[in-house]
């Protein structure tokens, strides 16, 4: 029975009004709440309710790069070394000192702290450490366990004596010390090391045993994980101010996929903290009684990789034209907030090895048009430039894990349309996006980022045998498009000294900029929304939450 037209209009208006009222209500609800006292001394006790946008998929540490996994692994495991998230300096943790490294960085010797136990009572000893790093360094494909991206050139480990372990590499591996400080190298008990990809998955969370400040006490598949503090925890990184058991009694990690629900729940005081507050929602946390933490991910910036082996982008002038034709400031101003600083190079300013290459990324549409003319691309009948019968139409992927990727590409679409370049967004879910982005003939410009607080992060992103975001390596025929780029990147991971790596990293960044292979857009943060009475919240070096020092001021 169709509704009479005027009535239908009234009905729609009514719905819109209800929605608007509800949204306004949501915005103002936070203002009046929570007159937290000013407590100088941390208080022990209480349970933190923390919201994640997605459910975790595996607790195998080398796969902890996925944020929902990392948020758990970071709090239930310890690592050999500790990386200060502010200075990115490495410090002792389960290893009592920084490792002794031989001259060409192919042997690392660690001394292991005594008396550390896993939550099942077994000892974290030298043999267990070697077993951990052996698995992470080599993986085990029969159990579908992958090797850690952070550990390069791994050969084997040896127990030297009860408190000493030594690791051997087939080639220099200067990133190893940092690698054993990341959540990808979270130490787990012997029983956990025997697991398969299946038993590291949902339904088995309580059997994943670490030595960290928290223990997984309960799991509701797909919705909730309950962490409990370990009362006998006494081996926090010595450099941390808080030693001993965590202040909190426990944490409820709850999945709340819908952005407005996640934000609203914290604003309304039903939860204490939430990860992934999108830029448009940040303003709600400016209200009294609420707080926002934007943690740097200290790695390769959110940006574009131009697949220079595709004929459309093979001419450097076309790549330079695209770079000059994109107004990055406009993107950041329109879609993001001050927590998303404009990128000044391939790496975040706080990342190890950072070099300023911002002069290559100036917005200059006049120059862009001139470059395209010079390269022989002339406007066609529909306004899109053509050359030899081919239209200048390029496809971008949608970076599903990255904030507002589709909107970013949409703005780029408008900006480049003015120059006569057609931009399209490749549709599809995660599997389709991944499949499309492995083929330069489907996706010519790849939108992505990667967080990792080591020099190696640059190599991780662009090296042909790592993420290969430029598709420098053709998977089908194994050919390399630009071997000089590979040589420069490989040097970062094989130069033994920090000075040498800094220089190698700078050289690679300079080359990426000169060749117009990439356009960094902004430094991507991890944004958390908190109740104001949640104190001591911090993140590890790439933005995963650490709850060991959190306390509730209420």
């Amino acid at each position: 029975m169709p509704l009479p037209r005027p009535l239908r209009r009234v009905a729609l208006a009514a719905t819109a009004a209800v929605a608007a009222a509800a949204l306004l209500a949501g915005c103002s609800a936070g203002g009046a709440s929570s007159g937290a006292s000013v407590n100088a001394e941390p208080v022990t006790g209480g349970t933190l309710t923390y919201l994640e946008p997605q459910t975790w998929t595996t607790l195998y540490p080398p796969s902890a790069g996925f944020y929902p996994n990392g948020g758990i692994v970071n709090n239930i495991t310890d690592r050999l070394l500790y990386q200060d998230p502010a200075t990115l300096e490495l410090q002792p943790w389960i290893a009592t000192a920084l490792p002794e490294v031989n001259e060409d960085a192919t042997q690392y010797t660690f001394t292991i702290r005594e008396g550390v136990t896993y939550s099942d009572g077994t000892a974290l000893d030298a043999a267990n450490v070697v077993a951990n790093i052996d698995l992470f360094g080599k993986g085990d494909s029969s159990r579908k366990l992958t090797q850690s991206e952070a550990i390069n050139n791994y050969d084997h480990g040896e127990v030297v004596d009860a408190t000493t372990v030594r690791f051997f590499f087939t080639a220099p591996s200067p990133g190893f010390a940092q690698a054993v400080s990341t959540i990808n190298s979270g130490l787990v008990s012997n029983s956990t090391l025997a697991k398969t990809a299946e038993t590291f998955g949902p339904g088995n969370a309580t059997t994943v045993i670490g030595s960290g400040p928290f223990v997984i006490a309960a799991e509701e598949v797909g919705t909730k994980i309950t962490l409990k503090a370990r009362d006998d925890y006494d081996w926090a990184p010595p450099s941390r101010e808080h030693q001993g058991r965590p202040y909190l009694d426990g944490i409820d990690l709850i999945v709340a996929a819908e952005d407005s629900v996640r934000v609203g729940t914290v604003v309304a005081g039903q939860a204490d903290a939430a990860r992934q507050i999108e830029a448009p929602d940040e303003a709600q946390f400016a209200a009294p009684g609420l707080a926002l933490v934007a943690a740097s991910t200290n790695g390769v910036n959110n940006g574009l990789s131009f697949r220079f082996r595709n004929p459309l982008l093979a001419d450097i002038r076309v790549r330079q034209a695209i770079i000059a034709g994109i107004d990055r400031q406009d993107i950041v101003d329109t879609l993001f907030t001050a927590n998303y600083p404009l990128a000044t190079g391939a790496l975040a300013k706080t990342a190890l090895g950072y070099t300023d290459t911002s002069s290559f990324y100036a917005y200059d549409p006049v120059k862009a048009a001139a470059l395209l003319d010079e390269a022989g691309w002339v406007p066609g009948a529909d306004g899109i430039r053509v050359k030899d019968g081919q239209r200048l139409a390029i496809a971008f992927n949608e970076a599903l894990p990255q904030p507002r990727s589709a909107e970013v590409v949409t703005i780029i679409q408008e900006q480049l349309a003015k120059l006569g370049i057609e931009v399209s967004l490749t549709p599809g879910d995660m599997a389709a996006q991944t499949a499309a982005s492995l083929d330069e003939n489907i996706v010519q410009v790849y939108h992505s980022m990667v967080g990792r607080a080591d020099f190696d992060v640059l190599k991780s992103q662009y090296f042909s045998k790592n993420r290969n975001t430029l598709l420098n390596l053709h998977r089908a025929d194994g050919s390399i498009g630009d071997s000089q780029l590979d040589t420069l990147l490989a040097a970062i991971a094989s130069t033994p000294t920090a000075e040498g790596r800094t220089a190698a990293s700078a050289a690679a960044q300079q080359y990426l900029a000169e060749q117009a292979y990439i356009l960094p857009i902004f430094e991507e943060p991890q944004v958390f929304g908190l109740r104001g009475d949640v104190k001591g919240f911090h993140t590890e070096s790439v933005g995963r939450p650490s709850f060991a020092e959190v306390w509730l001021d209420r």
């Binding site: 579908k144 090797q147 339904g203 797909g222 309304a268 879910d429 599997a431 499309a436 998977r475």
Partner: protein, 309 residues
């Protein structure tokens, strides 16, 4: 008896077809779960490492071989493991199903109550509000489910603080999702009920009953309702599909770990073992519900008894 057997045979064919079509479609789409999980540049695995993993999953073998194997495994009750997480599909379903069944049952129940309420008010209610109630079904069916859910949460949970979203009791956790699901679900039901009641009321026997002094409520419950309920029952069987679709959205908005949320995640990750199990379970439920509806017909309408032998 042969009728029931024939229906069971049909059900088996429907299930096999559903499984096969889903299998072929999933195989035809670009990319697969191994690509989504392991080839994702996030892990930075080399092509050689990837091919080893593909072999470990058996993805290097021919499609028909894997298809046949999976069909037989399914028949044995072995649903395999999620490629995305490695969790066993039976564990995932065992966790998700009860929550979804409770939501679906209450959602359908509330939708029927709501639909009857709307239909009765729209046809027998005070003249001034009939028109308004008649326009409710088109309104309800045109509001997106996620919008209803978000508005309900904003108003009743965040603004009025009546129902917590987090750490709610099982009953509290049901109220808003059930309401969210019931609103769009009630729309087609109410629509059909209103039309049936209108049609039945226009029939001559109604005038006769009225002339003999029957009150409106007598007329409604004893005469009109019995005749108007059959089309609505058919509709109730058919809206099961809408129930599943609505549950996907509702469960995502409210963070309920049901089949809907499981499906949404599996679709995003192209997690074939999970999707196939969900498809077969949904098809199974659809077949069962429609079988029950068909069997209920002769019970409700004496004219249909003995017609099928």
């Amino acid at each position: 008896m042969t009728y029931v057997l024939r229906r069971l045979g049909q059900a088996a064919v429907v299930l096999l077809l559903a499984y096969t079509v889903a299998y072929v479609l999933l195989a035809a789409l670009p990319g697969d779960a191994v690509v989504a999980r392991f080839a994702s540049p996030e892990l930075g695995l080399s092509p050689e490492q990837l091919s080893v993993i593909r072999e470990a999953y058996g993805f290097d073998r021919p499609l028909w071989e894997r298809y046949l194997e999976s069909v037989f495994a399914f028949v044995r009750g072995d649903f395999g493991y999620s490629v995305q997480t490695g969790a066993s599909v039976s564990t995932l379903l065992a966790t998700a199903l009860p929550s979804s069944l409770v939501l679906a049952a209450w959602g359908l129940g509330a939708a029927i109550l709501l639909a009857v309420g709307i239909a009765v008010t729209a046809t027998f209610g005070p003249r001034v509000i009939r028109r308004g109630f008649r326009s409710l079904p088109p309104l309800f069916v045109s509001i997106p489910v996620f919008f209803v859910g978000i508005v309900l949460i904003q108003v009743f949970s965040f603004r009025l603080g009546l129902i917590p979203v987090i750490n709610a009791t099982p009953v509290q956790a049901l109220i808003l999702p059930v309401a969210t699901l019931a609103i769009p679900l009630s729309a087609p039901l109410a629509q059909v009920l209103i039309r049936s009641i209108d049609e039945v009321r226009a029939q001559p026997f109604v005038t006769v009953v009225r002339a003999r002094g029957a009150s409106t409520s007598w007329l409604l419950w004893r005469n009109v309702a019995r005749n108007a309920v059959l089309p609505a029952l058919t509709m109730a069987g058919l809206i099961f599909g809408e129930l599943v679709g609505g549950a996907v959205v509702t469960e995502s908005v409210f963070g309920r770990a049901g089949v809907g949320q499981l499906t949404a995640q599996a679709v995003a990750a192209r997690d074939a073992p999970v999707l196939l199990a969900v498809v077969v379970f949904s098809a199974f439920a659809f077949v069962i519900i429609n079988l029950l509806v068909d069997l209920a017909y002769p019970v409700l309408d004496p004219r249909l008894r003995g017609a099928r032998r």
